[in-house]
């Protein structure tokens, strides 16, 4: 009741350092992602099924389609970078679902009334998602190797694929969070972020070379970010320039794919992550005149 007592009590909640805030939220989201069966099956099982089924079902046919120039490439090797990108895509879609869950469960407000730094909160959540993406891509690459995929650029190339997976995931993470903030509804977010994944994957260079696809798909693929993510990862897998939507010859070898693809992805990341950060800030300030 006394003033002294009150101030003494309040000193027990000094809050954390910024790093502490990031860590607290990182831990929470890591626990959640391991526990939540939807996230695990949705973002890992599906790509694994794709990898196994596609290579087994289409392997024979597809190998002739991809074997245009140079030495023969197995479809396993061709497909692993696409599945790695799909994994990143699925994990990114789950990010918005996590946010909308927090809004619906009241955890969003609960965190906003705590002294934690908002930036730290979202950074912690994002780092947990990135950890998951890295772990899942590692699993896909290992599984691919068991199925017969070979990685031309070795360990540095595999690390490169992980980095591409992270860079690729950011724009879609931002997108799914924007959908979450706009709809504030779990089902809409799942639909908005999840349903979009499959058409986007198919109208890209993910599963087959664009040269064997109809003209309209080649046109759409040029504006589809997945093409750039897959091409970049594939350039590292095959050790050659694989990009066909934009012809660049200035850098030589795989860099003719990596430089333009990563430039496009980074610009896309900056635009969408920027938009998501603005919207999150606004949501945190809430709907007051």
């Amino acid at each position: 009741m006394s003033t002294e007592n009150a101030s003494q009590r309040s000193q027990q909640a000094t809050g954390n350092t910024f790093v502490g805030d990031v860590w607290v939220n990182y831990k929470r989201w890591m626990i959640k992602s391991v526990r939540n069966p939807f996230i695990l099956t949705g973002s890992l099982l599906q790509p694994v099924i794709f990898l196994v089924l596609f290579t087994q079902v289409f392997g024979q046919v597809a190998t002739s389609a991809i074997g245009g120039n140079g030495p023969a490439i197995s479809y396993e090797t061709y497909l692993v970078p696409a599945i790695a990108v799909q994994t990143a895509l699925a994990a990114a879609a789950a990010s918005g679902i996590g946010l909308v869950n927090d809004i619906e469960e009241g955890m969003f407000d609960k965190i906003l009334v705590s002294p934690m730094s908002r930036t730290g909160v979202f950074l912690g959540k994002s780092l947990a998602e990135i950890s998951r993406i890295v772990a899942q891509i590692v699993i896909i690459i290992g599984l691919g190797w068991l199925l017969g995929a070979r990685y031309a650029t070795g360990i540095p190339g595999i690390v490169g694929i992980l980095i591409i997976g992270i860079i690729f995931s950011l724009w879609f993470t931002a997108f799914s969070n924007i959908v979450a903030l706009v709809t504030r509804d779990q089902e809409s977010t799942i639909i908005g972020a999840n349903i979009l994944q499959f058409p986007l994957l198919f109208v890209s260079s993910a599963f087959l070379p664009l040269s064997v696809m109809p003209g309209w798909i080649q046109t759409v693929a040029m504006f589809n970010p997945i093409t750039y993510g897959v091409d970049a990862a594939r350039a590292l897998t095959l050790g050659e320039d694989v990009m066909t939507v934009i012809e660049v010859t200035r850098f030589g070898g795989i860099w003719d794919t990596l430089v333009p693809a990563l430039t496009i992805l980074v610009v896309l990341d900056i635009v969408l992550v920027g938009a998501a950060v603005v919207m999150l800030n606004r949501a945190a300030k809430s709907a007051v005149q």
Partner: protein
């Protein structure tokens, strides 16, 4: 620290869709008080609490909580308050222990104190047996108690409880209230909103009646009930209340009581008067002369509902009081 836990001057809040949820609220709550906002749904209770807990930015006015300005120093405010939202807010994927631990970490409870604090709160919330089970499997009451525990991890000097017991069974409500009363006795200021009139009456040192975004009256429950002016004479007529309007005319014509003191209720009349005991005979005679049968007749002390009726002209109609003492209190003075 501040003289007042809460010091609000001229608070206004308009939502971006133009709804004016709070208009010109002035309020001072001294430290250590158990203070209640009373009012129907949509009156502005939750909005006010959200401004006080920094979730909403005031459109106008000055709001100081624990001596800190909610706009200028929100982080200082957040460090010194606990907040329990109207909707139960816990992470269903985490266990009870993990939920409380997350709150401890979010508020920076020192590592050395965490384990003890978590055990203490689990005990208090009566969740020690299920501490390592996921909250998803908990009943509504268990989740609510867990939510309360997470709001108290940092022993805040001021706690906001937005309808903390709505939806709980009476036993669970009582247990939660025992705890809130205990921390209040230990010095914690508590500000709550409730639709349960009895709850407010029994627990709060002072209450403010909020209606239409404005505080219409503030005072201790006793003082407010005294201000209603006298006692209340309830007359039960027919079940469907068909004769009520006619009965009101009949009673008003007796000169025993002013027409404005007579309220038509669901099943009859409610007459508020300082002479409620003396006018009984006049009222009954007037009703007999008008050929209106009387089924029941009772003089009682005013309740907070009468206060609410007197200051707003409406009942707290949203109240769905379960079973605890909404019966009229027999007068024994």
């Amino acid at each position: 620290m501040a003289e007042y836990a809460i010091d609000v001057d001229g608070l206004e809040l308009t939502y971006s869709d133009g709804t004016q949820a709070v208009r010109d609220v002035d309020l001072q709550v001294p430290e250590g008080e158990l203070f209640g906002f009373l009012g129907p749904n949509g009156a502005g209770k939750t909005t006010t609490i959200k401004v006080l807990s920094t979730l909403l930015r005031p459109s106008a006015g000055s709001v100081r909580v624990n001596g800190f300005d909610v706009v200028g120093e929100p982080r200082k405010v957040r460090q010194t308050i606990g907040y329990m939202a109207q909707e139960t807010s816990i992470d269903n994927d985490l266990t009870a222990r993990e939920n409380i631990r997350f709150a401890c970490e979010a508020y920076g409870v020192p590592r050395s104190e965490r384990a003890d604090r978590i055990d203490e709160l689990l005990e208090l919330a009566d969740l020690a047996d299920v501490a390592d089970k996921r909250a998803n499997d908990f009943s509504g009451g268990m989740k609510k108690r867990l939510d309360a525990a997470t709001a108290l991890v940092h022993r805040p000097p001021l706690v906001f409880l937005d309808e903390p017991t709505t939806g709980l069974d009476p036993a669970a409500r009582n247990r939660l209230w025992e705890y809130f009363e205990r921390i209040n006795e230990e010095g914690t200021t508590i500000v709550l909103t409730t639709q349960y009139l009895e709850e407010a009456d029994q627990l709060c040192d002072r209450i403010s009646v909020i209606h239409d975004g404005e505080i219409v009256v503030t005072g201790s429950p006793e003082a407010l009930k005294r201000e209603v002016g006298g006692e209340v004479l309830d007359v039960e007529l027919t079940e469907d209340g068909t004769d009520a309007e006619r009965a009101r005319d009949a009673v008003a014509s007796t000169d025993a009581v002013d027409r404005s003191a007579i309220d038509v209720t669901d099943d009859g009349l409610s007459i508020t008067s300082p002479r409620a005991r003396e006018i009984g005979t006049d009222v009954l005679l007037a009703l007999r002369d008008a050929d209106i049968p009387v089924l029941g007749f009772n003089v009682r002390s005013p309740t907070l509902d009468d206060v609410f009726l007197a200051v707003t002209g409406e009942h707290v109609d949203d109240v769905e009081d379960i079973d605890d003492g909404s019966d009229p209190v027999e007068v024994s003075r």
